[in-house]
Symmetry: C2
Subunit: 537 residues, 2 copies
């Protein structure tokens, strides 16, 4: 029975919200939860969906009426029991989408000059997002689907702001929005939350810095901070255009994203370096660390047979389909020379002489394998999901970052002394061997990882429960207005107090100038008197 | 059985902490708590102790070995079952302490010119703290007591950093420290946590601003921000001197306070305006909102007899002993003219004609009265404890701030539309009547207060449980190093990136200057050529 379900009656704002607030409080304190809320989920495909799916499943379990909105080109809702799917047609085919992904996958193994690297990364991102922006446009201008959505009377929109659709929908449906994300390119999450991020110790995305920087590193970090604000405009140009056109007002995506009631962030300070937070930022890092399931009999036999040497879990994530042949050979040659067994997720072409200690799989139960007591090392590309599974089970890593947030993720892990990095453009048998042996034989990697694990696992509330709590909080209170900082009402100059500082500087300078003038005047007077006296004498 | 009790063995740092970390994690995940930790509690007397006592009691209930350290002039430990008291002699008498308090109490009703107001407030604070600093000195140089404390092998120090003793003890005993506070004068809590506090929207203490300021207000806020850094040195001079002398190194209290592992802060954003936070700041506002107990029979009869008009709870806190006679009469005259009954905590001289609807008490069960369904209004001085009890039970307020953080607390409540303020230096029957009638008759005050109550009460974890969790977290992990921002290692110039900005400005200006020079040079060349051509022609 949906006891707390919010009806959208015509009661006057203040009275209504006060009464509902009181009711919600009573409901919460007596029932411990909000029941039967209407939740619109607007997900992002790929690895973004991996964690969000867990929250959506939990919302369904807790009795909420979830509508999952997805383009016809994906199959996100597959296997999600208990929610309704709203599928909308798009103007691109599965093949076109596949091609964009393929291009992204192939590009990661092509080395580019350092100077164009960042530019190419931004371009890849724009290519990837633009097809989805097109899909979003198809949805927004689909009268039939939008009509149905309008009639639903949602209580909350749950979305990943990596794509603009959820935010635009929340705005047009006048429904509070909960964001679920790891971060946003060019610090849009910081702008969206008005979270201070001092460039003196908060490393910028793609900088390769830790939180302790030398002077030249701080200069570089500051320059990147400046560049980001320019690149932001280019990167989100299509988002801005769509939002303005559809909402029929001059609005940028930056402004739109600021309306997020709660930001569920997939990190914590076992992973990132400590930095300022805002009250509506909720840390749910490690939400994906599920309780491990038992391994299949043949896999259990393989890994358990590894003896005291243990085994290595090797995967480069779902985005990488084909590894170059010479790289595959380099890895296999290295694996021949180690006592550990290796479970490798590999989908490309393989040479015939795969050593006996290596088990190739098209897909592997990453979390279950890492939870196995004989897991010695995790060979990974450094996606945030995998990193948290490694932290949750205390398995040190050898990391080979490919693209996106991975180089940064890897930098953080290396700085914490729990991982060694391999350059994807310089993979040799020797380098792989060296990295593996270092992490396996130097016990400090394992010890530091166990330390990270211990602080990460020590929650007052489990990340999944926290995510559910805050999503339901937004339903109960029709948003989280009391957590919204007044900084959102200030422009850049006002926020940084540049106007007040200018005025104060002007006052100080005027006083100093007048003081100086006075001194000069007095000084001259004295000189004249002394001169006169001398003359008289 | 103290299963998780940390032994202070001689194992090498890294290995030891890794193993202990792992053990702690196992303990935590299987038992859900840390048992039998040794906790040294260094409290601050007066209202500061009110909330901390609740946490200390809970720690005792959960099986921790608590030592409460207190000077012989107080009796904080009275009534605390299950903890050990360590009482140390001090060089001042109860009478001397009483005189300082008396002076503080009497001064609050004396109006001062606005210009000297802030100065006098600082002076009062220094007078009040200096006697306690003397007591702290008596403790630190007491070889016997200090010897006993050193032998205890504490796991954590729990203290209120309003006085320096706990911090100095934690430092000299090399034990992590958990702070418990509402805030510190001149923003020392912000410095201690390295928490950004943009003066453009975070009102400074004693400014009277909300989070939405006009340009002149922002200028004033900025000036106050500057003044605070100077006043900080004066205010904490005796703390600095004692810390440096005792620890035998050049250390300021500002530096010492930065070593706090966790800051348990007695506020949330139902009370304060949303502002940046740091990862080791834990909000436990409303920790004092206990479950109400039933009222005594005669009190229940009095308040229940108030009918539909309800009753008013009136108290100015424990610090105020004697209200001036004319003020008492003004209040009584106002109470004669209202239909509500009044329960008034009053300890001074009273006229003979106290009206029938007023019940005078030497002490009143504030929380239990506010929880009564017929409580219509809370007439309070605006101490943070009372404010939270008002919020917890949704009772709007008429506020008469006296000193300390009270004027600021009141400003926040007024800005939220849940309270009306009375000037303590301008109390007349009319003004009291006007304030009471406004809050009672204008339903918006009640509605907004119920809204505040609903967001404040909606916790994922109750404040008391959160405070226990983080105190035990510090025990389990021998601190909370992973939450300590690298900002602590930067000086003021570095933190604000002034050095990097100067370098970048110099580079830009040099390039601009060279560019200009080039242009001029080219321009001149061209002019010369044109002139030559003209000449040739």
């Amino acid at each position: 029975v949906p006891i707390c379900q919010t009806s959208r009656g015509g009661m006057a704002g203040g009275v209504r919200s006060a009464k509902l607030g009181f009711l919600a409080w009573l409901c919460f304190s007596t029932l411990g939860a909000t029941l039967g809320a209407k939740v619109l989920v607007v997900p992002v495909d790929g690895s973004h969906w991996l964690s969000m799916k867990l929250l959506v499943k939990e919302l369904i379990v807790r009795g909420h009426d979830v509508v999952l909105l997805e383009p016809e080109t994906t199959a996100l809702g597959k296997g999600l029991v208990g929610c309704r799917n709203e599928i909308y047609p798009v103007s691109y085919t599965k093949e076109e989408l596949g091609n964009v992904l393929k291009q992204l996958q192939e590009n990661v193994f092509i080395k580019l000059p350092k100077i164009t690297d960042a530019y190419v990364n931004v371009q890849r991102l724009i290519d990837y997002t633009s097809i989805h922006v097109k899909g979003c446009e198809n949805l927004l201008y689909n009268q039939e689907v939008m009509g149905r959505l309008r009639l639903e009377g949602f209580d909350v929109v749950l979305t990943d702001p990596f794509l603009p659709c959820g935010s635009i929908l929340a705005e047009t449906l006048s429904v509070p929005v909960v964001y679920f994300l790891r971060g946003l390119p060019c610090g849009l999450d910081e702008i969206g939350t008005q979270c201070p991020s001092p460039p003196s110790y908060v490393p910028r995305f793609y900088s390769g810095h830790s939180d302790t920087m030398t002077f030249p590193q701080r200069v570089k970090n500051m320059v990147m901070y400046g560049i980001e604000s320019v690149s932001c405009r280019i990167m989100y140009a299509s988002f801005d255009e769509l939002a303005s056109r559809y909402l029929e007002k001059d609005i940028s995506y930056k402004d739109l994203v600021r309306r997020g009631a709660i930001w569920l962030l997939r990190y914590d300070f076992a992973f990132l370096f400590p930095k300022p937070m805002m009250p509506n930022m909720v840390l749910i890092g490690g939400i994906n660390c599920a309780k491990p399931s038992p391994l299949s009999a043949h896999l259990e036999e393989f890994v358990d047979g590894s003896g005291d040497d243990g085994f290595i879990v090797f995967t480069l994530g779902s985005m990488v389909d084909k590894m170059p042949a010479d790289m595959t050979i380099a890895f296999l040659d290295a694996f021949k020379k180690i006592p550990q067994r290796v479970v490798w997720r590999h989908t490309g072409i393989l040479p015939e002489d795969v050593p006996e200690n290596v088990k190739i799989m098209k897909w592997l139960p990453q979390n279950d394998l890492l939870a196995h007591p004989k897991a010695k090392l995790f060979l990974t590309h450094g996606g945030s999901h995998g990193i948290y599974e490694g932290i949750c089970h205390g398995v040190p890593m050898v990391m080979m970052p490919l693209f996106g947030d991975q180089p940064d993720n890897v930098d953080y892990m290396v700085a914490r002394g729990v991982a060694v990095v391999i350059d994807v453009f310089d993979v040799t048998t020797e380098k792989v061997l060296e990295a593996i042996n270092k992490v396996v034989n130097d016990t400090s990697y394992k010890e530091k990882m166990v330390n990270l694990m211990s602080v990460h696992q020590d929650h007052a509330v489990k990340p999944l429960d926290l995510a559910v709590f805050w999503t339901e909080f937004v339903v109960r209170h029709q948003g989280a207005d009391h957590l919204r900082p007044a900084a959102h009402n200030l422009n850049w100059i006002q926020y940084h107090s540049l106007d007040t500082l200018c005025l104060l500087a002007a006052i100080v300078m005027t006083i100093a100038f007048l003081g100086l003038k006075c001194c000069c005047f007095c000084g001259r007077k004295c000189c004249v008197r002394v001169a006169k006296k001398k003359k008289v004498l």
